[in-house]
């Protein structure tokens, strides 16, 4: 079992030169250790592999790790908007949806712009193409359905893209690159077929489940933690300000804590934890 886990952790290490050496030393060090000691060796080996991958992608520059993480976070939010818009396009005319406006010319434009920007961001890291496309999609989605969760997701994605850097920082790229397009295409098709249920599930996965999963390797690779922070930050903009005001008034009047405030606190804690983790991870990369 230990050998199997250590072998899997060793495969995270991208460099053949280090892989055999680290796995061999981990095996020798773990000899005579208990379960906890062995688990630590496995985690340490996998963490080394993640750090090495991050170093290869960023040249060891923490700033670049943050920018790549922001791009990945933007891609997650674009996926959320893409699913919502695909569901709206497939919905019968006049149907109302909590995730997107009914289909119309503006929705078609927004969906096309989001799809094109996803390709630009994840396949090639083309910031200069993606930024105007996302800005156009944001405008079209807002015209079609007002300030909806799709619009807010696009707004945060746009902010993350701008934060990720301009053409002078063209070395940024989403980790995994074009491979992300396959699940994104599947999500779009599923949302078009399954409607708002699939879009809602995609939003939940992209902005809650995936970031939680990203935070785990984020301790070794700052890019993943930064992406989680961006994805969670969206939830702040997705909140309805009137709900928030009502919850605040209810709290002031002694009617107890409204779930909206609990969610807000949980989101704040999530973003803060992800940012701290990303900073800690970047600091560990120093001597």
């Amino acid at each position: 079992m230990f050998d199997c886990l250590l072998g899997a952790a060793g495969r995270v290490i991208p460099d053949e030169r280090w892989r055999g050496e680290v796995v061999d030393l981990a095996r020798r060090s773990a000899a005579g250790e208990g379960v906890v000691g062995r688990c630590r060796e496995v985690v340490s080996t996998a963490a080394f592999g993640l750090r090495l991958r991050s170093d290869h992608a960023t040249g060891g520059h923490p700033g670049l790790a943050w920018r790549q993480g922001a791009l990945l976070g933007a891609a997650l939010l674009l996926a959320t908007a893409w699913a919502a818009l695909a569901a709206a396009l497939a919905a019968p005319t006049g149907a109302s949806s909590p995730v997107a406006a009914p289909a119309g010319a503006a929705t078609v434009v927004a969906a096309a712009a989001v799809a094109a920007s996803l390709v630009a961001v994840v396949a090639a890291g083309r910031w200069a193409v993606a930024v105007p496309l996302v800005a156009g999609a944001l405008l079209a989605a807002t015209v079609a359905g007002g300030w909806s969760p799709s619009s807010s997701a696009l707004a945060v994605a746009l902010g993350a893209l701008v934060a990720a850097g301009g053409p002078a920082r063209a070395t940024t790229a989403v980790p995994g690159g074009a491979w992300w397009l396959v699940p994104l295409l599947a999500v779009g098709l599923a949302a078009a077929a399954g409607g708002e249920a699939v879009a809602g599930a995609t939003a939940l996965a992209a902005t809650l489940v995936v970031p939680v999963v990203l935070v785990v390797p984020g301790g070794a690779d700052a890019r993943w933690a930064a992406a989680a922070a961006v994805a969670w930050a969206w939830r702040f903009l997705a909140l309805d300000p009137t709900d928030l005001l009502d919850a605040g008034r209810a709290l002031a009047a002694g009617h107890g804590l409204h779930p909206v405030l609990v969610r807000l606190a949980a989101m704040g804690a999530g973003v803060a934890a992800a940012v701290v983790l990303a900073r800690h991870s970047a600091r560990r990369a120093s001597l």
Binding site: L25, A26, R40, S44, T45, F48, L52, L287
Partner: protein
């Protein structure tokens, strides 16, 4: 002093101990691990991933380099050694720590002693 070296200070304790382990002679991963544990009286126990993470960074920064490799029938053991920059970095860190020690001793000395 070299600007890169000043920028790298202060070193984290595991990094300092790894460089110290390599100061006398080249060593392989397991040798460094044991040496660090001995020097710290068992207080610092590096995991394989932590050790090689530090070695990879030190090599990238030019403070450590590959020396040679040996095999006694088992897996190949790669030996690492300090570079000139690595020696200067370690000496600068030792000077920094010594200055701090001297400062503390002077402040703790009873007045008039």
């Amino acid at each position: 002093m070299d600007e890169d070296i000043v920028g790298a200070l202060p070193l984290r304790e595991p990094t300092f101990l790894i460089l110290t382990a390599l100061a006398a002679a080249p060593a392989h991963g397991y040798g460094i691990l044991r040496s660090v544990e001995d020097m710290s009286g068992g207080r610092v126990r590096l995991r394989a991933g932590t050790l090689y993470g530090a070695l990879a960074r030190l090599e990238r920064e030019g403070y450590v380099e590959f020396d040679h490799e040996e095999s006694d029938g088992g897996p190949v053991r790669r030996y690492y050694r300090l570079t000139g920059a690595g020696r200067r970095l370690l000496a600068a860190e030792a000077d920094r720590q010594a200055a701090n020690v001297a400062l503390v001793r002077a402040r703790l000395r009873p007045a008039g002693a």
